[in-house]
Amino acid sequence: MTANAGFPQAHTGGYEPDVYDQLVQDTQNIIARYPQARSALLPMLHLVQSIDGFVSRRGIQFCAEQLGMTAAEVSAVATFYTQYKRKPNGDYTVGVCTNTLCAMMGGDAIYEELSEHLGIGHDETTEDGKVTLERVECNAACDFAPVVMVNWEFFDNQTPDTARTLVDELRLGNDVTPTRGPSKVCDFKHVSRVLAGFPDGLADEGPSAGEASVQGTQWAKNHQAPHSQHPDTAAETQGTPRDGEPHTGDEGSSAERPTGAGTPTTDDGKDLT
């Protein structure tokens, strides 16, 4: 098929020419990161989602052409991974962790609350196109259980109330701030572009760590002399509790866990998409 001014879509894979050109340029950038081009496929599928909001047919075709694969081969890969969406995704994926630890600590109750409140089930999207609800598997944040992920940013120590407020804010178009993440959650397409390996300049936002992450670090600071970080030199006199008995004598540590983390904010951030 030769380039033909009368059919601008024909040689741009169904994309607007400027979008297509950018896609090609980004693809070259991705391929250059790897010794073999096919390794670019996963980032390219994230890239497709950053344009189309899901892994579209034209996106699959585009990947296939760029990497010299068949569309069937690309599809077979895309369907293997849960982050690749087969239908248009909402602006915000709200993923409630319902793996065992979070489920027990209250994740099931949070999921039930959101499902009823939004009137949708797993992998469904609200009619306004704002929120896609999901149950997600363990997201490596069990010490902050129960955890909710919004576009793969952490909302730690959630309750049904905080989670309901969170989705309400999202549906109102207000910014929400993750517990451990940038100052506001970016939309699905934006985040998909980051996952394709294109930094958005937000790495320096947000905290170093959450409260649970630093429990041991701070315990050691409060109970061990500096530079005596191992048992040879640590003059630790902390007693051990009897079976099942709480030990509440540690100073400088808060026994209760925050539950209202991830407070939604209403200030208008700059459009990051």
């Binding site: 790897y34 073999q36 496929l41 996963l42 994230h46 890969v77 849960t82 982050q83 690749y84 993923g95 319902t98 793996n99 065992t100 600590m105 209250g106 099931d108 039930e112 609350e113 009823e116 149950r135 598997e137 363990c138 490596a140 069990c142 010490d143 259980a145 129960p146 793969w152 952490f154 451990r180 980051v194 996952l195 390996g197 930094p199 958005d200 790495a203 320096d204 905290p207 170093s208 760590a209 959450g210 992450s213 630093v214 041991g216 670090t217 315990w219 050691a220 191992h230 048992p231 640590a234 006199t237 051990t240 509790p241 079976d243 099942g244 709480p246 030990h247 509440t248 866990r257 539950t259």
Partner: protein
């Protein structure tokens, strides 16, 4: 038990610094001394130092790290690769993600030293895709390290070149299995490969490859900077050094506690404020959901590879998921099994079909609708998976079931007539008060 037990914050020591992720903070605190030292050494001597340290893989299996590096065939002039396993998806495991968010430079320095030691000039970090801020921090850390000359061409004037690519996955637990990870990194479905050949011989792009866990690689700089003896002064003879213990669940202060291997849960609970509200401990996983459950009998088991193994489980990833007496073990095991059934890659029959049937039987037991013989059926299914599955996912799926039946058989028997939610109301297990919705109790679960 000795009462002078302490923690050993090495990798976690800077996590409470307000700007812990920046290169500047890292350098202000002695960062990259290990790399400077390493670049003056012969690569073989670095491998030897890591062997001498006794460092064992922190990704679950506990394979000696230096020995793994030593398995690479002699240099044939072609490329060899380091691939860092940053997929962290084993339920309960939550140490690598905070490490990369708080102090990614520990990992980058470890990558540089490891690559120099094994003769690699292009290393990869495969991070799970569901942690976008961690990915940002990693990309940023790599950029900062290039700009400061710790990566790229002629690193610190040594003549050593190294490129690092940070690659985001897309959601699949099985991609943490090292050969599935390599297939995924090659742009394929993440399904395990037949071993042998092992990655050391034919890994990424069929070239010699070392796959190591984040915490393993991040432990290398201090071993080089402070010496193998410093490392072996912590831990036990066969389980040397420090490791991050991740406490989650019904404890007063869940979190990350980096300690010498061999610490006990009782000691860790002392630091974590004990069990929630002083309630009794019921069961816990010593190393993630793929390791057999422990109970309150095991509070004093030293958490090192040998002792945990001797007590019938595995140290795994030191992911201590802790549950008190309000928790239904049947509900816990059913949910984990739903996870394995969902994440089974489908390549082999025992795991693909077996996890499906396990899930069906467990669901009816949880609902109080078990049928006579169901417990035997579960054990029989597990028996047919364990040792017959193509990769360790299938084996791991059986661990929680067989151990739960061993310690709590009567709860499974109760599932012949009484729903788990009646015996153990979920609102008592949760960390907050709520009124359960009657409709949804059994609707949540598998995907």
């Amino acid at each position: 038990m000795s009462s002078d037990v302490g923690l050993a914050p090495v990798l976690t020591s800077l996590w409470d610094h307000p700007q812990s992720w920046t290169l500047k903070t890292y350098l202000d605190n002695g960062g990259y001394q290990g790399l400077r030292q390493a670049l003056t050494m012969a690569p073989a001597d670095i491998v030897q130092a890591v062997k001498d340290s006794g460092l064992r893989g922190r990704g679950g299996a506990g394979f000696p790290t230096g020995m793994k590096w030593g398995f690479l065939p002699p240099d044939d002039g072609g490329p060899r690769y380091l691939v860092v396993n940053a997929d962290e998806s084993e339920p309960g495991t939550c140490k690598d993600i905070p490490l990369m968010m708080a102090t990614p430079q520990y990992l980058i320095e470890g990558v540089a030293i490891t690559s120099f030691a094994i003769g690699c000039t292009h290393a990869f970090i495969y991070v799970r895709g569901e942690v976008v801020h961690v990915y940002r921090r990693l990309l940023n850390a790599v950029e900062e390290a290039y700009a400061a000359g710790y990566l790229g061409k002629n690193i610190l004037g040594s003549g050593f070149d190294l490129d690092v690519t940070v690659h985001a996955g897309a959601g699949a637990y099985i991609c943490g299995e090292e050969t599935a990870l390599l297939d995924s990194l090659e742009g394929r479905r993440g399904q395990p490969r037949l071993k042998p050949p092992f990655p050391a011989v034919a890994g990424l792009y069929a070239r010699p490859t070392v796959v190591n866990n984040v915490e393993s690689v991040a432990s290398v700089p201090q071993i080089i900077a402070q010496g193998a003896q410093w490392f072996t002064s912590m831990g036990t003879e066969k389980s040397a050094g420090h490791g991050i213990f991740s406490l989650s669940g019904h404890v007063e202060r869940p979190g990350q506690y980096e300690a010498p291997l061999g610490i006990t849960l009782r000691e860790l609970l002392g630091m974590a404020g004990g069990m929630r509200g002083g309630r009794p401990l019921k069961f816990w996983t010593p190393g993630g959901s793929s390791t057999p459950l422990f109970t309150d009998e095991h509070l004093d088991v030293p958490l090192d590879y040998e002792s945990v193994g001797a007590a019938g489980s595995m140290l795994g990833t030191r992911a201590l998921q802790i549950f008190d007496d309000t928790t239904s073990v049947v509900r816990a095991v059913t949910r984990w099994t739903e996870f394995y059934a969902h994440e089974s890659c489908g390549k082999c029959t025992p795991c693909r079909e077996g996890t499906y049937w396990l899930k069906q039987v467990l669901r009816r037991i949880e609902a109080g609708q078990g049928t006579p013989g169901d417990i035997e059926k579960l054990l029989d299914l597990c028996d047919n998976i364990l040792g017959r599955a193509f990769c360790a996912l299938g084996d791991g799926a059986t661990s929680c079931i067989t151990s739960a039946i061993k310690y709590f058989r009567e709860e499974f028997e109760a599932g012949m007539h009484t729903p788990a939610a009646e015996l153990f109301p979920p609102q008592r297990t949760a960390l907050f008060d709520y009124t359960p919705r009657t409709t949804a109790l059994t609707a949540v679960g598998g995907h």
